[in-house]
Each structure stands twice: as structure tokens, then as C-alpha cells.
């Protein structure tokens, strides 16, 4: 019955009720959407930073031509370090390209050697870490990916001539052209196209190009392939920490594991780690402030509006009391009225928030990558919006009762 009366009161007071609903919608939408945006941004940036800056690299300077490989035992040692989530042992080797022309007229020194690896498989670069910013991943074709640094040397969709030196013991692959230089060294030579580009990213600096492993095995033959990119061990280790806060400690422990291996050093993106740690500590307060400010603004606004409105038609309350209604019952009627307005407002605010969230997306340029952060509406904010509407309705109803009692029955009736 109370709900029914409240609904009729709302219909009768259409304009005021709509005004309250409108303002409640603005307030509640702000309450739902602002912290949701903050949380999504924080989550998105944090997630990105955690997924990038939690990587460390144990790399070989290549002074020995990547001849010595670190055994599997070391991989196990790294993985046993507390806080290490994943270890990727990767085999890095030089890939050589003829800068101009081909082997027949190759002047000495016109060979470009770049550190390279293959994609996927044991010793290969994990596909999960590859972000293509342009072009595509090479699929069973004469192609390779370049990184941001190498893209200065290799143009996209351009075909280059690659050469891999053969030792006297190596099998000669049947399907590949062989060339001999003036010193009598033999090479496997084939054409390959730069089909995709990884953006410049500090974590990928050590790998200039990435080959399609199937294609390369076919060109090099099993024996040469295994010598360069296949087999046990690794010459580059990518280590993923569970948490960005652990990176520094883990890097130090890994460095001590590699103390006995010359030419290896542990690097990680200190700037990103420092920035992320600073971001986390600084933005946490900021986002909390945004949330609290939103809450305070909404509650104040809703309370002010409903308080101002509670003065309207207060003679109705006086009338009902003279007809035998208790003040408690009158309060209940006011409460139901505000609850109805609150529920309608929350429902509309939810829909509006979802629409706004679906339309907003933030994009950031980070290390050449476009980081897109989608805005997700937090169920917690939705639930708290309902709680706010209920609480405010209750408080306003009781406040209205207090105000009316203070005015007195006689004066309330004079307001007619």
C-alpha cells in the first residue's frame, strides 16, 4: 500500500520527482562511472606495466659468437628463485644479411649481422611476448619479424638475402643455394622478407629479428639449424617475475647465479619499474581521492536536493497525523517515496554508466605500443550505488520527520 501511495505521489509531483530523479542520476552515474574509470585505468596501466616491466633479461654480449650455451641446470636454478614466475631460455645467434647485391660481388664488410632467434618451440622466442605493431607474424613463409631498432635497417615488405656460414662438417642442405666467398668459406644463402614489425620495446632490444622456425629449419637443414637455434640450453634468458616489486631482488639473485658465466649480465627496464612503483604509490592515493570525492559529492548533492524537497507539501504529513497516522507511519511513506525515486535513479544510472563505459576507451602510447584500456563498470560501484540510494532515502525520510516534528503540527498545516 505504501509503495502504491508513494508511486501516486511521484506521479502527482511529476516535475519535482523527475528533477530529483535527474539529479540523482547525475550523482549516481558520477559515483558509478568515475571510480570505475579510475579503477579501469589503474588496472589497465598496472596490468600493462606488470606484464612488461616484470621481465628481466640475462643476455650474452655475443663476444664469443654465441658459441657457449648455458645448460638446463641454470634454468632450474633461476626458476627456483623466489618470485620467479617463468623462465624462457632462448637461443640467440647471428643472422647475416647481404647489404647490397649478392655474394658474387660482395665486398668485405658489407654484411650486416644481427642478433636473432626463432619464434616458438624449445629455445625459441615465446610467441606470447610478441606484439606486432605492423605487418604480421611469419607463417611458414620466407619471412621474419624485425624489432624497432632493426627496422632502421630492414624495410617492411622488402626481401633481403640472408646468409649462414657452414662449417666443413655441416651437412649441405639440398634445397638451398650454396656460395663460397673468396676465403673459401661456404654459406647457405636464401631470400627472406621482413613481413612484420615488433614495436620498439626495451625488453626486445636483444633480439633484432625473429625467424619462422619451420622455414629456417628447411633452409638450414637440421644439423645447421640445431647448431644455431635448436638443441639444449640457452644464450638469452627471459625471466618473468610474479610482481613488479620483486624485480630488483630477483635480478640481484639471478646475477649471482651467472657470476661464473662470463659475458652474461642481467638487465631489466629500471626506468619502467621505478615509474611503475612510483605510479602505484602515487596514483593509489589519487584514485582513492577521486572515489571519496565522488562519494562525498553525490551524497551531499542527493541529501541537499531531497532535504530541499522534503519541505514541499509537508502539510500532507500534518494532515495524515491529524487523521490518526503515527509519525512513524508518515516517515515510512516518505521513505517509500524516496526509495522509489532512488531505485528508478539507480536503474537509469546503471544503464547510462554502461553506455558511457562502452563508448569510452583510453589509448596510450607506451614504448611504441598502443595500450587500450577498456572501462569496466565495477559491480562494487553498482552495488554501492544502490546502498547509497537506500541510505540517503532513509536518512532523508528521518530528517524530514525530525524537521516536521520541529515545525509542529499546527505550523505544518498552515503551510497548506
Amino acid at each position: 500500500m505504501m509503495t502504491n501511495i508513494a508511486l501516486r505521489r511521484m506521479r502527482k509531483e511529476r516535475i519535482w520527482s523527475l528533477a530529483i530523479i535527474g539529479l540523482l542520476i547525475v550523482g549516481l552515474t558520477a559515483w558509478i562511472i568515475v571510480p570505475s574509470i579510475s579503477a579501469s585505468l589503474q588496472e589497465g596501466l598496472s596490468s600493462y606495466s606488470n606484464s612488461i616491466a616484470t621481465y628481466m633479461f640475462v643476455y650474452n654480449t655475443g663476444e664469443d659468437g654465441f658459441k657457449s650455451r648455458i645448460s638446463e641446470n641454470v634454468t632450474n636454478d633461476i626458476i627456483s628463485v623466489e618470485g620467479v614466475q617463468e623462465v624462457y631460455p632462448i637461443l640467440i645467434n647471428f643472422s647475416s644479411f647481404i647489404e647490397n647485391g649478392n655474394m658474387t660481388n660482395l665486398p668485405k664488410g658489407a654484411i650486416v649481422m644481427v642478433e636473432s632467434a626463432v619464434i616458438g618451440g624449445h629455445g625459441g622466442f615465446p610467441q606470447s611476448l610478441i606484439v606486432i605493431s605492423e605487418g604480421k607474424l611469419p607463417e611458414n613463409e620466407a619471412g621474419f619479424l624485425t624489432n624497432g631498432v632493426a627496422s632502421g635497417t630492414f624495410s617492411m615488405n622488402t626481401t633481403y638475402t640472408a646468409i649462414f656460414e657452414l662449417s666443413s662438417e655441416d651437412e649441405r642442405p639440398n634445397s638451398t643455394d650454396l656460395y663460397k666467398d673468396f676465403l673459401g668459406r661456404e654459406y647457405v644463402q636464401f631470400n627472406a622478407t621482413a613481413v612484420g614489425k615488433m614495436p620498439y620495446n626495451p625488453i626486445l632490444q636483444q633480439v633484432y629479428i625473429l625467424w619462422n622456425s619451420t622455414f629456417l629449419r628447411q633452409k638450414l637443414g637440421d644439423q645447421l639449424y640445431d647448431q644455431t637455434f635448436g638443441g639444449e640450453g640457452g644464450t638469452l634468458f627471459i625471466v618473468k617475475a610474479e610482481d613488479i616489486n620483486q624485480v630488483k631482488t630477483i635480478a640481484s639473485k639471478i646475477a649471482s647465479i651467472f657470476d661464473n658465466y662470463l659475458g652474461y649480465s642481467v638487465v631489466y627496464d629500471q626506468a619502467t619499474v621505478a615509474a611503475q612503483l612510483s605510479f602505484q604509490s602515487g596514483s593509489g592515493i589519487l584514485f582513492n581521492l577521486i572515489g571519496i570525492t565522488s562519494l562525498f559529492s553525490v551524497v551531499s548533492m542527493v541529501f541537499l536536493i531531497t532535504y530541499l524537497f522534503s519541505g514541499r507539501r509537508s502539510w500532507e504529513a500534518g494532515l495524515l497525523v491529524t487523521q490518526g497516522w503515527s509519525w512513524r507511519r508518515v516517515t515510512k511513506l516518505f521513505f517509500y517515496y524516496y526509495i522509489v525515486l532512488g531505485i528508478i535513479s539507480v536503474a537509469i544510472s546503471t544503464v547510462i554508466s554502461l553506455i558511457i563505459a562502452s563508448q569510452i576507451g583510453y589509448s596510450f602510447q607506451v614504448y611504441g605500443n598502443t595500450l587500450t584500456v577498456a572501462i569496466l563498470i565495477s559491480p562494487y560501484m553498482l552495488a554501492s550505488g544502490i546502498v547509497i540510494a537506500l541510505l540517503v532515502s532513509g536518512v532523508v525520510a528521518y530528517f524530514a520527520l525530525w524537521r516536521m516534528k520541529k515545525i509542529g503540527l499546527d505550523n505544518l498545516l498552515r503551510e497548506y
Binding site: M1, I5, R8, R9, R11, K12, E13, W315, E316, L319, L320, V321, T322, Q323, G324, W325, S326, W327, K405, G408, L409, D410, L413, Y416
Partner: protein, 214 residues
């Protein structure tokens, strides 16, 4: 039984009642007569527990209202008192019928019967905004009558009513008194006092109250 003992009531510097004593008993029909501003409505509001006296005591069935808390006053209003306003006060978003059935929670049939008796059968489902002042006045009086309280307080019941309807309304009030209730009503017209068993002339009381100041 309602007793007003040495009641005084003022609004600012204007004294409305000064040391006023009166008693109402079952079966009484009392007319409070007086010109506009003489304090008729104030006296009615005092006995309907809408306002409180500045001094003196008001007892209803032996209970002095000065010693009662708000919950006990609410109970008295609910159980013992029915009040009809000088200017008809109806809930604007309820129909004439709903202003009876939902405000005082009386049975639909009884409400329809009484409203029809007062010539409002074609206004049952009209909201107050669609009704004349006289029609609203009848709905307001019907609400008070149907509440079946011992004390029926009606502020100027005959204003805005035509003579025939006035007779119907006064017949209702008298029936209430005959059934053992107390009817207290006010009027500015001395001729309206003919329906009452006793009359309080507020014009004289008000003048006395203010003379006593000087």
C-alpha cells in the same frame, strides 16, 4: 469527557484564550461561534490535539495531555478524535474515495455510501483538483464522520455548502452526537448555532481575554 481547565493560548501578543474553562460530555453538540480571527479554530485545534495550550490543562477521558508523550498523543488522535478542516484538506494524488479508504482505512462500501449520501456519487473517482470547494468540503467532513471517533471536531462545516447540503451535513453530525459522541463545530453565522445544544461565543471570550491585558 473532555475538560479544558484555565486554558490560555496566545499567538505572539494576541491572546486568544485566557483562563478558559469548559467541558464536553458524550452526546454534546457544541457550536463555537465567533467572527473571523476570534479564535474558533484555535480552540478546535486545542481539543483536536493539533496545538497545545500555553497554560492550563486539557483532559480527555481523564488523561491530562500535558503529561503525554508524542506516541500517546498519536494514540489519542487515532482512537478518540476526528477532525475536519476549515479549508478542506485532501491528499491531492488520491481520489475522493481514496481520501477516505486509504487515509482513515475505512471500508470501501461505507465510504461510497456516505459520499453518495452527501451527493458525491459522481465524484468518487475524482481527484481534488477536479472538484469544487464545496465538494472537497463534503469529502473532508465525510472522512471525519467515518472515522467513528468519540470526538468529532469540524471547523466551519457549513461554509461553502448550499442550504440543502448543510442540512444533510448537520444531520450527520447530530446523529454522531446522538450515538454518544461529542460534536464540536464552529461557524461565523449565528444562525448556524441552531443545530447545537450549547454555544461558545468566541467573540466575547476573545474580547475578554484581550481586555484582561489592559
Amino acid at each position: 469527557m473532555i475538560k479544558l481547565q484555565s486554558i490560555s493560548k496566545s499567538y505572539g501578543s494576541i491572546k486568544v484564550l485566557e483562563d478558559f474553562t469548559f467541558g464536553f460530555k458524550a452526546g454534546d453538540t457544541v457550536c463555537i461561534l465567533g467572527h473571523s480571527g476570534s479564535g474558533k479554530s484555535t480552540l478546535l485545534k486545542l481539543i483536536a490535539l493539533i496545538t497545545k495550550p500555553d497554560r492550563g490543562s486539557l483532559t480527555i477521558d481523564g488523561r491530562n495531555i500535558n503529561g503525554l508523550n508524542e506516541a500517546e498523543l498519536e494514540e489519542l488522535r487515532r482512537e478518540k478524535i476526528a477532525y475536519s478542516f476549515q479549508e478542506p484538506l485532501l491528499i491531492p494524488y488520491m481520489t475522493a474515495l481514496e481520501n477516505l479508504t486509504e487515509v482513515i482505512e475505512v471500508q470501501n462500501g461505507k465510504a461510497v455510501e456516505l459520499l453518495s449520501q452527501l451527493g458525491l456519487s459522481n465524484r468518487l473517482n475524482h481527484q481534488p483538483s477536479k472538484m469544487s470547494v464545496g465538494e472537497k468540503k463534503r469529502v473532508d467532513i465525510a472522512r471525519a464522520v467515518l472515522k467513528k471517533s468519540v470526538l468529532l471536531v469540524v471547523d466551519e462545516p457549513l461554509s461553502s455548502l448550499d442550504p440543502a447540503t448543510s442540512l444533510k451535513v448537520m444531520a450527520l453530525l447530530r446523529k454522531h452526537a446522538e450515538a454518544g459522541g461529542i460534536v464540536v463545530y464552529s461557524s461565523v453565522e449565528p444562525s448556524d448555532a441552531r443545530f447545537a445544544g450549547r454555544v461558545i461565543n468566541m467573540s466575547i471570550i476573545c474580547a475578554q481575554a484581550n481586555n484582561s491585558v489592559t
